[in-house]
């Protein structure tokens, strides 16, 4: 087992950190130089290129990072977490709930679905008004509406749970 298992955009990398200059990626050794500053800025020399990234958030094993105006969500699992995952495999629930959260604060104008309704990927779930615009909140997956946590004409904060699909 390697030090870290990193999942990014459907690719998985096994990383072993040998020291502050050498790292193994999928059993191949590379040289690198990496500096961090207090505010999450990092500069990495790898290959013949320089990467300038910003760590935006770090929750449990999930890191959100910005580079070249793109944002990546990266899952990093250390040895303990990798072991835990192996242990938990098969014990996981068959159906996992999908939580639709408010991407920004705003006013719930209209709820477009009912409990029990089947929705497709891309179906509109509700209309959230923010910045003078009506924004359609769409489902990013197929599922059935299990719970509606908000009411029409109420305000929500960023990250509030709107709808739960199963």
């Amino acid at each position: 087992m390697s030090d870290f298992l990193v999942k990014i955009e459907n690719n998985t990398y096994s990383i072993d950190i040998l020291d502050t200059k050498k790292v193994k990626v999928n059993d191949e050794e590379f040289e690198y130089q990496l500096n961090f500053s207090d505010n999450g800025e990092c500069v990495l020399n790898f290959g013949n290129k320089i990467y300038d990234a910003t760590i935006l958030s770090h929750n449990d094993s999930l890191i959100t990072l910005a580079i070249n105006n793109d944002v990546f969500e990266i899952e990093v699992k250390d040895k303990t977490e990798q072991l835990l995952e192996i242990f938990n495999k098969g014990r996981e629930e068959k159906f996992k709930d999908v939580v639709i959260k408010a991407p920004m604060p705003g006013l719930v104008l209209k709820i477009l679905v009912n409990i029990g309704q089947k929705v497709e990927k891309g179906s509109s779930l509700l209309i959230l008004e923010a910045m003078k615009m009506e924004n359609e909140i769409k489902s990013y997956t197929t599922g059935v509406v299990k719970e509606i946590r908000v009411q029409e004409k109420t305000s929500v904060e960023k990250g509030d749970v709107l709808i739960i699909l199963e």
Partner: protein
């Protein structure tokens, strides 16, 4: 009567307030900014000669607060008010209140705003000056049935539009009669929130048109000129993203014809000051009057770049009661200019506005690049106002050079902390259809795919895997003492020390 203007209040915020302040400084005119509490740290507040807080945050209590703005104007003894774009810029009541307070309104007189700002009245005026218009209802409709009847008569698609304002708000395209009732409700409620006016009118929706507008200037003596066209077809939900001048489809003959129509349209409404006449142009180069914007446009810099005319300066000159500084034959167009509007929005999530603090901002610069930006690193993009961060403008001797320069600028530009459409712009200007000039107003919905934008190059992914693994590894060894200081980041403290 000529009255020299020596002090101006800017009744706006963000980049356009700063844009006006800059010209004022060029002319030795003193400036007054008004600002909401949450805008306190923005450059337009810092760079004005005087700044007055006008309220907390919502547009209604701040930048739409007519009486309070006039009170501040009187108190600070300004000669004139510049309204920028949006907010009160096309509000005839405000223009009238300003005039009645003995202050110059830098923009058209209230009657002209009323005529041309009311989209229905404008169509009537323009059409009687024998300028072609798109078929539509010449009065706001009273109920859904009238829209249904219109659809039956002219066929679908039809367009529902707010009578009270533009910017894509309160606007819906309806392809089938079955969609009409829901779209009508949505357009009405959006128009009500955005403009306090839920009147809707209906017009025939032209398919695959190009959106081309003409910048015009008119003085108090009945003189009018145009400063050429701006191609604004690259838009999403009627919100423009990329504009350029000249347009690849406009020949010198067509420019002359459309420019003449634009000036005639403005003069037929006794229009004074800067304005924009928007046209739709179909595949056969037929043009139809769409609407007039009775204000300075967001995209005015592309015109400035190819004419070398400072439009805000001309606005002030006209407002002082002077004649136009140029006659039509003195207007020369040089090279090509492109503007990209940089918005705080997430193109991966259907261009949802992205709010938050700008953690990092490395602007683009270099030869022939202009940037009009209203925020700096450390500033906040809030839910209260438009999410535009900046306008990036590139000039080149040819369109090809201008596009390459824009690409260079977008590659230099880095923002983090909020999502932006920078990479979406990069994708657009490299798209073959765009490069070939072969596009219409449906370009984004037909061709844009967020999956194509994000750079998922294997080298980058590998680099990020190393970076995050080392980061987590380091965090583990320092977890204990980094935990206690989590509420306020050191960077923020440092940043705001400068303001004390």
């Amino acid at each position: 009567m000529i009255k020299k203007i020596s002090k101006i209040l800017i009744a706006n915020r963000g980049e356009i307030a700063l844009r006006v302040i800059r010209t004022c400084k060029d002319l030795g005119i003193k400036t007054v900014s008004i600002y909401s509490e949450i805008d306190r740290y923005l450059p337009f507040v810092m760079l004005a000669d005087e700044a007055y807080c006008i309220g907390h945050a919502t547009p209604a209590e701040t930048y739409l607060n007519k009486q309070k703005i006039i009170d501040i104007a009187l108190k600070s003894k300004v000669d004139a008010i510049h309204p920028g774009y949006g907010f009160l810029s096309e509000n005839p009541e405000f223009s009238k209140m300003v005039q009645d307070s003995g202050i110059i309104f830098i923009g058209p007189p209230p009657e002209a705003i009323k005529k041309m700002g009311d989209k229905i009245l404008a169509r009537r005026i323009v059409s009687s000056a024998s300028i072609p218009i798109v078929p539509g209802t010449d009065a706001p409709i009273h109920n859904l049935q009238e829209a249904v009847d219109f659809g039956k008569k002219y066929g679908y698609p039809i367009l529902l539009k707010a009578a009270g304002g533009g910017g894509g708000k309160g606007m819906r395209i309806v392809n089938f009669e079955s969609e009409l009732s829901a779209a009508f409700r949505a357009a009405q409620s959006e128009a009500k929130t955005a403009f306090g006016d839920d009147r809707i009118y209906v017009e025939k929706y032209l398919e695959n048109p190009r959106h081309i507008e003409f910048q015009i200037l008119c003085d108090n003596f009945g003189n009018g000129i145009h400063l050429g066209e701006r191609e604004c077809s690259i838009q999403r939900r009627h919100q423009k993203i990329i504009e350029e001048s000249p347009s690849v489809i406009i020949t010198p003959e067509l420019r002359e014809k459309m420019g003449y129509a634009a000036v005639k349209a403005a003069l037929s409404a006794n229009y004074i000051n800067a304005g924009t006449i928007e046209f739709l142009v179909d595949k056969q180069s037929n043009f139809y009057f769409l609407e007039m914007n009775t204000r300075l446009q967001v995209e005015h810099p592309v015109t400035e770049m190819i004419t070398n005319i400072d439009i805000v300066r001309e606005q002030i000159n006209i407002a002082e009661g002077n004649r136009l500084s140029y006659s039509q034959d003195k207007i020369n167009f040089k090279g090509h200019a492109i503007e990209c509007r940089i918005y705080a929005e997430d193109y991966e999530q259907n261009f949802m506005p992205s709010i938050g603090t700008i953690k990092k901002l490395y602007p683009a610069s270099g030869a022939f690049i202009r940037e009009d930006r209203g925020v700096n690193e450390g500033n906040e993009i809030s839910i209260y106002y438009d999410p535009m961060i900046s306008k990036l403008i590139a000039w080149g001797e040819t369109r090809e050079i201008a596009i390459n320069r824009m690409l260079r600028a977008l590659e230099e530009y880095k923002i983090s902390g909020i999502r932006t459409n920078i990479n979406a712009c990069k994708w657009i200007i490299q798209n073959k259809k765009f490069v070939d000039g072969d596009f219409d107003t449906h370009f984004i919905e037909n061709y844009f795919d967020p999956e194509l934008v994000k750079n998922k190059n294997k080298d980058i992914l590998k680099a990020l895997a190393i970076l995050t693994a080392v980061y987590v590894n380091n965090q583990k060894s320092v977890t204990n003492h980094s935990l206690k200081d989590k509420s306020v980041s050191k960077w923020r403290v440092k940043k705001f020390e400068n303001f004390r």
